[in-house]
């Protein structure tokens, strides 16, 4: 079954790339946009650190590692599922979901990966290099195990981010028009754009154990910098699989409430 879905994913990647090449200026601008987003995030911390040298023991070097983890997780989101989940509400409202449900593959898989954006692979390479460079600057050396941890965290953070976002987006099935639920997701996602030490303890624990947005970048940065133990990696792996399973169960539950609008 895994091989079957892998083949579908590769085919979707090829067709998406051909479709992307149709509007080449748009590709360039999309990549450029992501760099602006990176610039904005860096600028926020540069401005704050221009008024102080340390915040809770974190200097600008450690913040760059945190941002590297955040950008890396975001590039995977952009390549695979960002646009698909953003359009989920529209697919439900216009009845396009019927077509997905009729296909002989998992509807959750098709909805999540229908349109991919391979052009963001360039961003992934640049962000990965930037993260490794920041880590080298901060730690003084770079071990192979650290790179392995980074890659494993990229998988875990994306599994958690994808599951949460998918569940928020799929509520469009019962809500009808739910464009603003995407905004709700961004409000929640905003919490992961800052390292968890900037939040008071109650919010920090919420971000770790209730709504684990802290696992998108904050926990990975703490672990690869050696601030927290490697056991957090096992926790992240566990959470990733739990959330993936939960998103699948949630989808099966909510799709039963779908009433087709196109027929």
């Amino acid at each position: 079954m895994v091989t079957h879905y892998w083949r579908i994913l590769v085919t979707l990647m090829k067709t998406s790339f051909i479709a992307e090449l149709e509007f080449r200026a748009n590709i360039a601008l999309k990549i450029f946009n992501d760099f602006i987003w990176y610039f904005v995030q860096i600028a926020v911390f540069e401005v704050l650190y221009s008024h102080t040298s340390q915040i809770s023991g974190w200097n600008i070097g450690k913040i760059k590692v945190f941002l590297g983890c955040l950008f890396l997780a975001d590039t995977i989101n952009m390549i695979f599922y960002h646009e698909n989940l953003e359009q989920l509400s529209e697919r439900v409202r216009k009845g396009d979901l019927d077509l997905m449900l009729a296909k002989p593959v998992s509807s959750q898989f098709m909805l999540s990966f229908y349109r991919l954006h391979p052009s963001y692979i360039l961003n992934f390479i640049i962000c990965f290099t930037w993260l490794l460079y920041s880590l080298y600057q901060e730690l003084g050396s770079l071990e192979l195990f650290t790179i392995f941890k980074v890659l494993l965290f990229v998988f875990c953070s994306n599994a958690i981010m994808y599951s949460l976002r998918f569940m928020v987006a799929s509520t469009a099935i019962v809500m009808g028009r739910a464009e603003n639920l995407a905004q709700l997701w961004y409000s929640l996602f905003r919490m992961s754009l800052r390292p968890d030490f900037v939040y008071p303890p109650w919010l920090r624990y919420t971000l770790l154990f209730v709504l684990p947005l802290g696992f998108i970048a904050s926990v990975p940065a703490h672990v690869v910098l050696g601030v927290r133990s490697d056991y957090w990696l096992l926790g992240a792996l566990g959470l990733a699989f739990v959330f993936l399973a939960f998103s699948s169960l949630f989808w099966q539950w909510i799709v039963k409430r779908y009433s087709s609008v196109s027929s």
Partner: protein, 261 residues
């Protein structure tokens, strides 16, 4: 235009939960997060002032900033207008005895007025509860500037939409613009924290009128002269963009081939 505004208001009331998320839930979460963040940041930095302002001043600022930024944002109508050109459904507007600019401006302002009425009750309540540096007598001035900014941001949207006649897919311009506005409006942090040269530059751009100037005026960071200057700057930029928009609209219509018609 009043009819279009009513149309937008009624359409948005049709999906009440969707509107509730936009007007209340989403900005409330962002505000709570920002307030918690600034509270802890002051403790972690061990300072009593930052950029010349106290913690109370920052908390008052973030109470209002997210709501002002949310009201001034225009992503939903921009995507809808771009879709009209991309898909060719703009044809149905072009053949009617109405203007595209007015048609969407009416809807946009109608929607934003409703958002303003419902959204601003929340920070007003929070400011009353928490005290801080909010001066409610300054609220009309802040709202007046926000209204001018709404016309500006809509005109900017119109200019981007006219590019779609030539380039078809220009959704990425919207994202670029929104990132820039995010940074330059003062939503992420008050612009006092910028270097003097950057702050000077931002005072000649209209984006600070979305959040920093009205919220700064409301929370005693800025004075009436700053508000007045921002009004003039925003009006001037609106005029310039309006001329650009008109020029590109005419040129765009000449080359438009009615895709999907």
């Amino acid at each position: 235009m009043w009819v279009y505004a009513k149309l937008a208001a009624e359409t948005h009331l049709e999906y009440r939960f969707n509107s509730f998320v936009d007007w209340c839930l989403s900005p409330l979460i962002s505000t709570a997060v920002e307030m918690a963040m600034w509270w802890t940041m002051f403790q972690a930095m061990g300072v009593s002032t930052l950029g010349g302002f106290s913690r109370e001043s920052y908390l008052s600022y973030v109470t209002w900033a997210v709501f002002f930024a949310r009201i001034s944002a225009n992503w939903m109508y921009e995507f809808r207008m771009l879709q009209e050109v991309e898909s060719g459904s703009i044809n149905s507007i072009l053949v009617r005895p109405l203007r595209f600019y007015e048609y969407y401006l009416g809807q946009f302002l109608g929607y934003k007025l409703m958002t303003m009425v419902f959204s601003l009750l929340l920070p007003a309540g929070l400011a009353l509860l928490m005290g801080g540096t909010t001066d409610f007598w300054r609220l009309p001035g802040a709202i007046f500037l926000l209204m001018i900014y709404l016309v500006f941001t809509y005109t900017l949207t119109f200019c981007i939409v006219t590019l779609a006649f030539r380039l078809t897919k220009v959704g990425s311009f919207t994202v670029t613009k929104n990132f820039f506005v995010w940074l330059a409006s003062g939503e992420l942090f008050p612009l006092d924290l910028l270097s003097p040269s950057m702050k000077m530059l931002s005072s000649y751009l209209p984006f600070a009128s979305a959040c920093y100037i009205p919220v700064g005026y409301l929370t005693h960071r800025l004075e009436f002269a700053d508000l007045l200057k921002a009004c003039w700057v925003t009006v001037a930029w609106t005029g310039v963009l309006g001329l650009f928009g008109l020029f590109f609209w005419r040129r765009g219509l000449r080359i438009y081939s009615g895709t999907g018609a």
